[in-house]
């Protein structure tokens, strides 16, 4: 029976901290950093929840989870009910529980946030999902009334998977096309094992497949078949192929052998498991000194991966100051604990190499902050005569991505903006071609897993409305 505690005692409690692997150990292994709450910790934390009548936390959740309700079930120690509550709207709970920036979303709206101790909603979500997986508890399959309409989904990342799950639950025939040999998109090629174990992604994808979703791997829409051809075979399409193409700085020496895009570096390590070379065949360069350019989440992932692969020194090179760092504070904190060296106000201007093309260093310039620019941040200005050289063996460009044109080239009538991203209605995901919807990074540019999940939900609803009204891509 749930322990009864008074509201006063409840308010006195502090957040239960997340148990973590020791920084000096974890920076040499690929095991997950946070270890997860124990049963007791989860219940204790859940008991802090005030069960607000008009709960604000839910406003901040793109996955539309009934947060107070699932937390209530934890308090009642009915974890199976808690799991099913989350699954009603979020098909990827162990994933969103780990990689959502909760501090920017649900927890930001928690009434206890004002006291600096919001409920650890993400950690509780993760606890519930992990408990279910470890105890072989599966979501109750909803009663599905089969509908005759079919939907094709391009990409098996968070947007595609969410859209597929929601549409399958509504009874539609759903087929996901994935270009790579594994399902999950950025969840498998981008986010490292130490933040999101791949076995968990595999598990949650398989749960979605149990809803009757068909998946076809090794299928590059835009190459194997065009969007135009797929549009003849399905009643509606959802394009969620991700952003894709890496950006480079366009400085001299950037094509030397040991300069990676973060996409390549992380894909080799995560998707292809180069960290387990030669058991796995894909190699990766392990330098003594690695420099990662940029300070977003992907940069933190890259710098921390380099350290785990054996780099003695792993630097972050960022042209602005600490204050402007775009990565989640938790990621920066973890990186610092692990010994990542931050070089702020530093701009790379040239990569230096030997005659065989191997990187030997990087020439940089010191920067200072000037006036506020259009992004609302102070503009970094180079300091004349401040050039200096830093010795490095590998360079990783983590300065963002741009739209991969392969899919768009094959989609007649689906318009893109000047950066190559699909133009899609915010409220429906509808593109400029009726019956074709889009969401995730191929609309937003580089965004978060949870915003992609939200887009998947929005599109599923709009596709259902589109098809329910009797419309179809097959009807000209």
């Amino acid at each position: 029976m749930a322990e009864m505690i008074s509201p006063k005692d409840r308010m006195k409690r502090e957040q239960v901290p997340m148990p973590e692997q020791n920084p000096d150990e974890r920076n040499r292994n690929f095991k997950e950093v946070p270890l997860g709450y124990t049963r007791e910790q989860a219940i204790y934390e859940a008991q802090r929840c005030l069960q607000c009548k008009n709960a604000k936390c839910v406003i901040g959740c793109p996955a539309e989870i009934n947060i107070p309700q699932f937390i209530k079930k934890i308090v009642e120690e009915d974890f199976s009910a808690a799991y099913n509550e989350i699954l009603k709207t979020d098909a990827l709970p162990a994933i969103t529980g780990r990689v959502c920036p909760q501090e920017e979303q649900c927890q930001k709206h928690c009434i206890l946030e004002k006291q600096g101790k919001p409920i650890s909603i993400g950690r509780l979500e993760r606890f519930v999902a992990d408990w279910a997986r470890e105890n072989n508890v599966h979501g109750k399959l909803p009663k599905i009334e089969k509908k005759e309409k079919s939907i094709g989904i391009v990409g098996s990342g968070p947007a595609g998977l969410t859209c597929a799950a929601d549409l399958a639950k509504l009874g539609y025939e759903v087929t996901i096309f994935e270009a790579l040999h594994l399902l999950g998109g950025v969840l498998v090629y981008g986010i490292p094992e130490f933040r999101l174990p791949k076995a968990i992604v595999k598990y949650e994808v398989e749960e979605i497949e149990k809803l009757g979703v068909k998946v076809i791997k090794d299928y590059v829409v835009g190459a194997t078949k065009s969007v135009d051809v797929l549009a003849r075979d399905f009643d509606a399409l959802f394009l969620a192929n991700g952003a894709g193409a890496p950006r480079f700085m366009n400085i001299p020496g950037e094509n030397y052998n040991d300069v990676y895009s973060a996409n390549e570096f992380l894909t080799r390590s995560n998707l292809m498991k180069a960290y387990a070379f030669p058991e796995y065949d894909t190699p990766i360069k392990i330098g003594k000194r690695a420099a990662t350019i940029g300070a977003g989440n992907v940069a933190m992932d890259s710098a921390r991966t380099a350290l785990r692969l054996g780099a003695e020194k792993s630097y972050i090179i960022y042209r602005r100051s600490r204050k402007e760092v775009p990565a989640r504070s938790e990621e920066v904190h973890h990186a610092e604990e692990e010994g990542i060296i931050f070089n702020f106000l530093t701009l790379p201007i040239k990569v230096l190499g030997d005659k065989n093309g191997n990187v030997i260093g990087m020439e940089c310039k010191k920067m200072k902050l000037g006036e506020t620019d259009e992004s609302g941040r102070r503009r970094p200005i180079p300091i004349e005569g401040s050039e200096f050289t830093i010795e490095v063996d590998i360079v990783i460009d983590a300065i963002g991505t741009s739209a991969n044109p392969i899919l768009a080239r094959s989609a007649t009538g689906v318009e893109t903006n000047k950066w190559g991203y699909f133009i899609a209605d915010e409220k429906t995901g509808a593109t400029t071609k009726e019956g074709i919807f889009s969401g995730g990074d191929i609309v937003r540019g580089s965004a978060t897993v949870i915003s992609a999940v939200g887009d998947g939900k929005v599109a599923a609803r709009a596709i259902d409305k589109f098809l329910s009204s009797g419309k179809s891509l097959k009807i000209k």
């Binding site: 270009a179 040999h181 090794d218 190459a223 030397y256």
Partner: protein
């Protein structure tokens, strides 16, 4: 999974396989490539399509043993399955009726020029093919190329078969004889493509090369295959694989092919010495 339907050993180091991949076979065009993985723990390897059969849903690949993956692939037999096989990737060859054209293949590049040669001839071109290798044993697909082109000239470095010498010597003669030749495709080892480009530089003739960079996804996502073309960075997988050979930065291209040389040798040696002791069930020699 993708079944190997027919396997053929073309010589000591080069193999040919027909793979069951109906989706790829239905859309493939000359000049495009595929990416395959031998097993779940394998690497992703790009190979230019050597032939295809749309009706039967088959793709032909031709590969030379140059490291662990290709050697492991060569140990697979008919009815064995490949773990992954995607395509068609890259842009197709620009095929039209140019008049008289030349296609040049060296080593496994002979296989790569096969569908291009056939399509050029079908489009109405007079196609002269030159294929070359170090010696007679290394010449592959002679019958197929002969059938695909209007005229075939074979060269070997040691004179053991066909004309003695390099493909570029024959090429120079042809260009001197016929100033109407407008376009050349040359596919083979980087050094051969580079030397061909040097040969054609002084003639008014487009020289197209097909590059075989190191890739991971093959769809424009990682940038592993980037190459400088006329001073601009391009991706071989999504902008190529064919480029104007006169614009390629050959030194950078050759350097980037050696990115993992040491690690590749380590992996190959372990495979050959049978130090493959994990439980994934893969064959060892």
């Amino acid at each position: 999974m993708y079944k190997i339907l027919k396997k053929e050993k073309l010589n000591d180091v080069i193999y040919s396989m027909w793979i069951e991949a109906p989706e790829v076979a239905s859309s493939v065009q000359p000049g495009q490539f595929i990416i395959l993985m031998v097993s779940e723990k394998g690497e992703r390897v790009p190979l230019t399509v050597a032939d295809f059969d749309r009706k039967e849903g088959l793709i032909r690949i031709v590969f030379q043993i140059v490291g662990k993956t290709s050697e492991e692939l060569s140990t697979l037999e008919e009815n064995d399955q490949l773990f992954s096989f995607i395509g068609p990737l890259g842009k197709k060859t620009d095929i039209e009726n140019f008049g008289t054209v030349i296609t040049i293949g060296g080593g496994t590049g002979i296989a790569c020029i096969h569908p291009i040669t056939r399509a050029l001839k079908k489009a109405g071109n007079k196609v002269i093919s030159i294929i070359g290798a170090r010696n007679k044993d290394l010449i592959i697909m002679e019958e197929e190329i002969k059938k695909a082109s209007t005229k075939l000239i074979v060269t070997t470095d040691d004179g053991s078969y066909g004309r003695k010498g390099f493909v570029t010597q024959v090429l120079k003669e042809l260009l001197d004889e016929d100033p109407t030749i407008k376009k050349i495709w040359t596919i083979g080892p980087p050094i051969m493509m580079k030397v061909t480009c040097n040969t054609t530089k002084s003639y008014a003739v487009d020289t197209i090369v097909s590059l075989n960079s190191i890739m991971v996804d093959g769809t424009g996502m990682c940038g592993s295959c980037r190459v400088s073309i006329g001073g601009e960075t391009k991706f071989v997988c999504s902008d190529g694989p064919e480029f104007d050979g006169q614009l390629v930065d050959w030194e950078e291209f050759a350097n980037r092919l050696t990115r993992y040389k040491g690690l590749e040798e380590k992996s190959w040696n372990e495979f050959r010495n049978g130090n493959h002791d994990c439980k994934c069930g893969r064959r060892t020699n």
